[in-house]
């Protein structure tokens, strides 16, 4: 019997801050102290605390420690474990909201609700037993023994769940397109090619709760009549790939993947396919091309993947976060799900809060929360007493929000009205030390790098935009450059082949709309923020 459980966050963020060494020291010191039988050290997913070094929580006391270094381990053991005294200098009190079931008295703190992230940071993601103990695979069991495929699909439709990859297309409706196709094979693909800058929600779901994805995919397979699933994960996400593979192996061993699952006639299996480094492969048809072993260039649509997808067969491509919602919708019902969020945007949304923010990280909030609540309540505002300049929501192609939007409810319809979208859920906060023109140049450099080169609009358009911006940020711009950029950007929106080229101009046009003065100043050789190295032109130098 273990007296203590120490859950140490072992995710990509904490590992980048030395979590492995701390965990090794913990295990070693506990063993030396003869406490190995009394204290269990569990590697868990994200604990929801970021940028604060290595973090851990000790149960049953539910005490969080942050910024733990190898040299602190001995003190935690001698004080907390042996004497029951909290090590105050490492004690972290600003804990995120969680359904902490180990200690029922722990209150829910703040404005966060955990549906998708309910297990991340509270179970050992490498243990199928711990997932099952939290009602894991119960939805799948119930669906296969008590529900028809149509009923499963109906429940997802009624829930109003919209795709969390960025397009917010109703998931149940998408499934319906594939379900009515007649085919010898159909496929379910989990899109885990998370490459949108500032986005790491899928990474932390895959690292922290991989079984929820397997269960969601199996339910999708049952609903549309597919027997094979693929998880397409970015090649750079090594830990996600490892945890997912381990989860698949465990599910197979326990009969939760394979033939005749739960004694039903339903067969379903999952394979991982790794990406090889291409942002465009997050686009679903490019992703399919990549699984087919080709260059990840998008396909012409229609036909859409639910009719003609992988190897020409009906295919559903769903985002990681979308799939992580499915089992809970089946288990708790569509009306429970509709009780969260707003009427037109039910459920929660996982955001990644990044940029110039005091408390960055992964948060899960009900749809409809305001930007102000996220930036100032959950994110604790902007460091160094700087002012809020702008926020970009949804990744590099996301719309621009300014201080006038701070009280805008973040839901699909209200954002659309403001010319923005939720996209991937990345929320980049930018403080007033930054230069807008320099920032836009950074966005465009990204598009130049990530354009697949297929269509002229995106390949050449972004290239020319970069040239114009480079002129502005070096003091060589002229007054006509701004109109030229606007013209080019709006032409790209209309003429580019796929979503990347069409969306790339969104933040550029947004910045031009709200910060036009700053662009004009650059044509006059002035950078408000002093970031751009303005070289005086020959004329001015002579004068």
């Amino acid at each position: 019997m273990h007296r203590f459980h120490i859950l140490i966050a072992m995710d990509s963020h904490t590992i980048a801050q030395g979590a492995r060494a701390v965990k090794d020291a913990l295990v070693q010191d506990l063993t030396l102290a003869g406490l190995a039988q009394e204290v269990r050290v569990v590697e868990t997913g994200t604990l929801g605390i970021y940028g604060k070094g290595v973090v851990m929580v000790i149960f049953p006391d539910a005490v969080y420690y942050a910024g733990v270094k190898v040299e602190d381990v001995a003190e935690i053991i001698s004080e907390h474990i042996m004497k029951g005294r909290i090590v105050e200098r490492l004690h972290y009190r600003d804990i995120p909201a969680q359904e902490v079931r180990v200690d029922e008295k722990t209150p829910r703190i703040g404005k966060q609700v955990r549906v998708v992230l309910k297990n991340a940071g509270s179970i050992d993601p490498e243990s199928i037993e711990e997932y099952i103990a939290e009602d894991g695979y119960e939805a799948l069991g119930r669906a296969l023994t008590e529900m028809t495929p149509e009923q499963v699909m109906e429940e997802v439709k009624k829930s109003g769940l919209q795709g969390r990859g960025g397009a917010f297309f109703p998931t149940g409706v998408k499934w319906g397109f594939a379900a009515r196709e007649k085919s010898d094979e159909k496929f379910i693909i989990c899109n885990a090619d998370e490459g949108e800058p500032g986005t790491f929600k899928d990474r932390l779901i895959l690292e922290g709760d991989p079984h929820s994805i397997i269960e969601g995919m199996a339910l999708a397979g049952y609903a549309v009549g597919a027997q094979q699933g693929y998880v397409y994960i970015r090649g750079e996400y090594r830990m996600s790939i490892q945890h997912m593979q381990m989860a698949i192996d465990q599910a197979r061993k326990n009969g939760l993947l394979g033939k005749k699952i739960f004694g039903s006639k339903f067969n379903f299996d999952i394979e991982i396919r790794e990406g090889a480094g291409a942002y465009i492969c997050g686009e679903e048809t490019a992703l399919i091309e990549s699984i087919e072993g080709k260059r990840g260039e998008p396909r012409n649509k229609p036909p859409f993947p639910p009719s003609v997808g992988l190897w020409g067969k009906p295919t559903i491509v769903n985002n990681v976060e979308t799939l992580a919602n499915i089992a809970q919708i089946i288990l708790k019902g569509a009306s429970w799900f509709r009780g969260l969020g707003t009427q037109n945007s039910p459920g929660t949304k996982v955001f990644t809060l990044v940029g110039n923010i005091n408390n960055p990280g992964l948060i899960e909030v009900p749809m409809g929360i305001t930007l102000r609540e996220i930036v100032y309540d959950i994110g604790h505002g902007i460091p160094g007493g700087k002012g809020f300049l702008l926020a970009q929501l949804g990744g590099t192609t996301g719309g621009i929000l300014t201080s006038e939007h701070l009280d805008l409810p973040l839901a699909v319809d209200s954002l659309r009205a403001a010319g923005a979208g939720m996209g991937s859920g990345a929320l980049l906060v930018v403080d007033d030390r930054q230069c807008v023109v320099d920032l836009v140049q950074n966005f465009v450099e990204f598009f130049v790098h990530e354009s697949c080169g297929l269509c002229t609009m995106c390949r050449e358009g972004n290239g020319r935009l970069l040239e114009l911006l480079q002129r502005l940020t070096t003091g060589k711009g002229v007054a006509g450059d701004i109109a030229l950029m606007e013209n080019l950007a709006s032409t790209m929106m209309r003429g580019a082949f796929c979503g990347l080229g069409q969306a790339a101009p969104i933040p550029i046009l947004g910045c031009l709309r709200y910060f036009r003065d700053e662009f004009i100043q650059h044509t006059q050789g002035v950078c408000r923020a002093g970031r751009c190295k303005m070289q005086a032109s020959d004329d001015t130098a002579a004068a």
């Binding site: 990509s12 963020h13 590992i15 980048a16 801050q17 030395g18 492995r20 060494a21 970021y50 940028g51 998370e194 490459g195 949108e196 800058p197 500032g198 986005t199 790491f200 990474r203 090649g235 750079e236 996400y237 090594r238 396919r273 790794e274 990406g275 090889a276 480094g277 291409a278 942002y279 990549s290 699984i291 087919e292 072993g293 080709k294 260059r295 990840g296 190897w311 990644t352 809060l353 990044v354 940029g355 110039n356 960055p360 990280g361 992964l362 970009q392 590099t396 990345a426 980049l428 930018v430 403080d431 930054q434 920032l439 950074n442 966005f443 450099e445 990204f446 790098h449 990530e450 697949c452």
Partner: protein
């Protein structure tokens, strides 16, 4: 002269996988260090996929390389979340320290410097990756200290 029989073994190990070209190229690159023309020609022969198509794939994805690289590959992120947290200053310092530009390899063959797309650890921005290890909350000085460690020990972990 690379041992091209290894290519055949790798291709054969994927005979049960549908459309495995990307997996084959990954293994082949691991084996030979980079995807040279000679090696890709052998992949084309064994898989019966046209060389032009294989070359197209090998040059499309950023994790593949058709040129040889240094012992340690430094991948710096300069996407917006890192950018607003000072990644340019980090990169400039690394360039000065190594005396190379992005895309180049040091004369001693130790380091290749590249950009990476977002590594998904933006809450500890700015970040960089050396080989498979990620380092966060960087300052220019910290970045140089990390590279010094690699230089001294060949390989080191935080």
């Amino acid at each position: 002269m690379p041992n091209l029989n290894k290519v055949d073994t790798i291709v054969k190990s994927y005979e049960n996988m549908r459309t495995p070209l990307i997996y084959i190229l990954k293994d082949v690159q691991n084996e030979f260090g980079h995807l040279s023309e000679e090696v890709l020609t052998q992949v084309a022969k064994t898989t019966r996929i046209p060389l032009s198509e294989i070359y197209g794939v090998a040059t499309f994805y950023s994790l593949f390389t058709v040129k040889s690289k240094g012992k340690h590959i430094i991948r710096c992120c300069n996407n917006a979340p890192c950018h607003v947290n000072g990644s340019n200053e980090v990169l400039d310092k690394i360039k000065t320290y190594l005396g190379i530009e992005v895309g180049e390899t040091t004369a001693d063959g130790e380091f290749t410097l590249e950009y990476t797309s977002c590594l998904g650890v933006c809450a500890v921005a700015p970040v960089l990756m050396v080989n498979e290890e990620i380092y966060g909350n960087l300052t220019p000085e910290k970045a140089v200290a990390i590279l010094k460690d690699y230089k001294m020990k060949g390989s080191v972990h935080a």
